[in-house]
């Protein structure tokens, strides 16, 4: 949507020594910022970063729009031979992923360094 109150800058990103890209949204991951996160995640995948971890530790609330952005990033990664995983979800994020069955496709990992050990 245009003209949102919190049209986001890109969320902080870092790349591990193994080439895993970690995206760390902050605050509320909801309607005003979800489209921006989708765009950022798909852009990272298009740039070749197909192993993605989204760190949710600083997300105070995630809504269905935010879940949709994570799913969009997951599909982009999978379509390009990679994967997207979740790290450090809050209690609220865990609840909404379980209630919507998104936890069946978005796996939670404990660290980016070991997130893709099953694919080595």
């Amino acid at each position: 949507m245009r003209g949102r109150g919190r049209e986001p800058a890109e969320f902080p990103t870092r790349i591990t020594g193994d080439g895993v890209v970690v995206v760390a949204p902050r605050g509320r991951l909801d309607l005003p910022v979800a489209a921006g996160l989708s765009k950022q995640l798909i852009g990272l995948v298009d740039a070749g970063h197909t192993r993605v971890v989204v760190d949710l530790s600083a997300v105070e609330l995630i809504d269905s729009s935010g879940l949709g952005s994570l799913v969009a990033g997951f599909e982009a990664a999978r379509d390009n031979g990679g994967d997207l995983k979740i790290m450090s979800p809050t209690e609220q994020a865990t609840l909404v992923m379980e209630l919507t069955n998104v936890n069946r496709v978005l796996r939670t990992v404990t660290s980016p360094e070991t997130a893709f050990d099953d694919q080595k």
């Binding site: 919190r6 909801d30 809504d63 729009s65 799913v71 997951f74 609840l95 998104v102 496709v105």
Partner: protein, 137 residues
């Protein structure tokens, strides 16, 4: 807590509506520290979904008046949204959780799942959404 306590937010839909709504909830929780974190979480989650629905569909690109009533009772929190926008084309009885890979369509399913009660009424020229989360005390 002896009697229901009510807070009211009156504004119009727009880019900052969700910020205003969450600030109103935060002010409410600051005054009602006995409301458990689990209830705060479910209320905030349900409110986020319904408010986003109103922003997207009640007014489209047009700002419409909206009122949010938050009522804290001994064993529940009740939030009522009343807006002057277009009727919501929803059938809450028919809401179901979409496929895990769907990019949208989870909002009302999530609100229904996380809240103890969710209802929608069209009254005269108003939409009225009622959200209830309980039990504590």
């Amino acid at each position: 807590m002896t009697a229901p306590q009510r807070r009211v937010l009156e504004t119009v839909t727009g880019p900052d509506l969700l910020d205003k709504i969450h600030r109103a909830l935060d002010r409410c929780w600051a005054q009602h520290r006995d409301v458990p974190a689990s209830i705060r979480m479910t209320v905030a989650t349900g409110v986020a979904e319904i408010a986003a629905n109103i922003v997207q569909y009640a007014g489209g690109r047009r700002p419409v008046p909206i009122r949010m009533d938050i009522e804290v009772m001994q064993h529940q929190v009740k939030v009522v949204f009343t807006d002057d926008g277009e009727p919501a084309a929803v059938d809450l009885e028919a809401v179901s959780t979409p496929d895990a890979l769907a990019k949208r369509g989870r909002g009302l399913a999530l609100a229904t799942a996380v809240l103890d009660e969710l209802s929608y009424l069209r009254r005269e020229n108003h939409n009225q959404w009622t959200l209830i989360s309980r039990t504590f005390g």
